[in-house]
């Protein structure tokens, strides 16, 4: 009797185990495809599969790959249950790989998909996702180039008054009258950075005027390459004004590459030499207020300009005039009044008008429940 009961118990346990096992059979990942990742340099393959039902018991996935004629190897570790895509960036270019997606349950039961056809990665010559960006860039460039060449016809181009640039002559005149020097800092930017190049352009215009007035122009530089280019800019400005005798190469000098040592150095020059005018034009970081406040404390007329929106409030608070953002780039056209440069400013304004139009249109369409502009812009970004 006892044996019968024991046999029945064993059978019951076996039946329960078998039925539980059958109820947790994992479905294999379906529709597994492997393809060359679009818009990359051919260094990755994308594997996709269909999402499993929530009650499938799958707790994760493993990706297995096989190099032609080789064994299976696991890549990427365990992926979370909801994953349906994996990008294998560890492939070797030129080799074809076949993939298997393995579903894993909490009890470590596994089931594998069918093996995909071998795929190899190949680089694309054009990033199709950047077409809208390319179109926008071409349109904007065309507007600028058209305006530049239109300006050559001699048409009068209106440019709004920029107080910071109007004050350049005032600042130089003040320094000349007081018999003091002018200090010009290009900030911490490297030579390849656009704000630094814009600053050099302004410096060229300032140097022309200081050459005329014979006012000493001191330019401490943070970057050795910037220093060399600046020397050439200032020297040419003095030559163009017919005053090479006034040019002193030692006035354009290297200070240090260290950010705060540069700030200390420029502050020291300000405190010792008390320049009547201070120009802070270019790329600035945390040292912006240290420089601007020291300039303020010595009573110098200060004209600052930067494209860093984080430093602008400091300059506005501490300087007499501030070129805000794009005004830094408009300075060369504004100061030189060259028609071609002014034309590019008008092209820039067309770009702004276009963006403004897109924003207004986007807002109106969103309010009307149409969101294709928002979707397009999100896709581009």
């Amino acid at each position: 009797m006892i044996k019968i009961i024991q046999c029945l118990a064993v059978c019951l346990v076996l039946c329960l185990s078998v039925s539980t096992g059958f109820s947790q059979v994992l479905p294999p990942p379906s529709n597994v495809t492997a393809m060359d990742t679009p818009n990359d340099d051919g260094s990755s393959i994308t594997i996709k599969w269909d999402a499993a039902p929530e009650d499938s018991g799958i707790s994760g996935y493993q990706i297995l790959r096989r190099l032609a004629g080789g064994g299976l190897e696991e890549v990427g570790g365990i992926l979370p249950a909801g994953t349906t895509t994996y990008v294998d960036s560890t492939i070797e270019k030129g080799n074809a790989y076949a993939y298997i997606v393995r579903a894993v349950s909490a009890t470590e039961a596994t089931v594998e998909s069918e093996e995909t056809a071998p795929v190899s990665g190949s680089g694309e010559w054009f990033h199709t996702g950047k077409i809208p960006l390319l179109v926008a860039m071409l349109l904007f460039s065309a507007a600028i180039v058209w305006n530049i060449y239109d300006a050559r016809s001699g048409k009068e181009i209106f440019v709004r008054r920029i107080p910071g640039l109007e004050a350049v002559d005032e600042a130089i005149g003040r320094a000349t009258e007081m018999g003091r020097s002018i200090l010009y800092s290009l900030g911490l930017g490297r030579v390849e950075e656009v704000p630094t190049i814009a600053s050099m352009t302004i410096l060229g215009q300032v140097a022309r005027r200081t050459a005329d007035y014979e006012t000493p122009l001191r330019v401490p530089c943070r970057d050795p390459i910037v220093m060399n280019v600046v020397r050439e800019v200032v020297r040419t400005a003095y030559l163009d004004e017919g005053r090479p005798d006034v040019y002193n190469e030692e006035n354009v000098f290297f200070l240090t590459e260290s950010q705060f040592a540069y700030a200390a150095g420029v502050d020291g020059i300000m405190v010792r030499e008390k320049p009547a005018a201070v120009f802070l034009q270019g790329q600035f970081f945390a040292e912006s207020l240290i420089l601007a406040e020291t300039g303020n404390s010595i009573g110098a007329i200060q004209i600052a300009g930067t494209d860093s929106e984080h430093q602008l409030p400091f300059f506005i608070a501490a300087c007499d005039y501030t070129l805000i953002g794009e005004e830094l780039y408009a300075a060369s056209a504004y100061l030189s009044r060259e028609p071609m440069l002014l034309g590019s400013l008008r092209g820039q304004d067309w770009g702004k008008l276009f963006i403004f139009g897109i924003i207004v249109l986007g807002v109106v369409l969103e309010l009307a429940g149409v969101n294709w502009i928002t979707t397009l812009l999100q896709r581009v970004s």
Binding site: I144, P224, V233, G325
Partner: protein
């Protein structure tokens, strides 16, 4: 010729570098990385030139006995010490690291810490409520400052507890940062971006050539 060659090079490299941004192919990315790495070659030469300029400047100061010329000796002491230790033993040497950690880092930190005082003095000037704009700035700044400190919400809930808005200081601060502040910032960023593109086009086309040393 002195001007034409740099202009041609600038145009060619400018166009090629733009194109590499639209081509993910390893060939074009290779060109991009190669050109970027060329700047590393220029840097050591420029550094030698910079060191020569630094020495020249301070020797001239000592020779001419200009104001505070004695400090130029400090420059030479620092320069020679770091070279004598750094060149033969490398930057990982204990003495080099000690000098860096115990001299340069504290001096940098000192300069940086001055910023706190400069912010206070600049804020004092900016927030004087003389005009409508300055008053607006003052009120906004007070709200943002209140929202930034933990006690701000406590003050709000205690003093303005009768209002239906709980933790209003931090919420008002967040609203100011997310709406008027972010809108203004984005406006500036858009203008700057267009300005950068415009400036780049002028440089690539050779219209803006002052960086070569003159406008002609």
């Amino acid at each position: 010729m002195k001007r034409q060659v740099p202009l041609i090079l600038c145009f060619a490299f400018g166009i090629v570098m733009i194109l590499t941004q639209f081509s993910p192919h390893s060939f074009s990315q290779g060109i991009y990385e190669e050109v970027i790495s060329w700047t590393l070659i220029i840097s050591p030469f420029a550094l030698v030139l910079a060191t020569a300029t630094l020495i020249q400047t301070h020797v001239a100061r000592i020779q001419r006995r200009t104001d505070h010329w004695q400090y130029s000796f400090v420059v030479f002491v620092g320069l020679i010490t770091m070279v004598v230790i750094g060149v033969p033993f490398g930057p990982q040497h204990q003495a080099f690291e000690w000098l860096y950690t115990n001299i340069q880092v504290p001096m940098d930190a000192t300069m940086f810490s001055l910023l706190a005082f400069f912010i206070a003095s600049a804020a004092f000037r900016a927030f004087r409520a003389r005009t409508f704009e300055a008053s607006l700035l003052l009120i906004t700044a007070l709200i943002v400052m209140m929202g930034n400190v933990p006690v701000g919400d406590l003050i709000w809930n205690t003093v303005l507890g009768w209002l239906p808005l709980e933790d209003g200081a931090s919420k008002a601060r967040q609203w100011i940062l997310n709406n008027p502040n972010l809108s203004a910032r984005r406006g500036i960023i858009l203008g700057v971006s267009l300005g950068v593109i415009s400036q780049s086009i002028r440089i690539i086309l050779g219209i803006e050539r002052s960086y070569l040393g003159g406008g002609d």
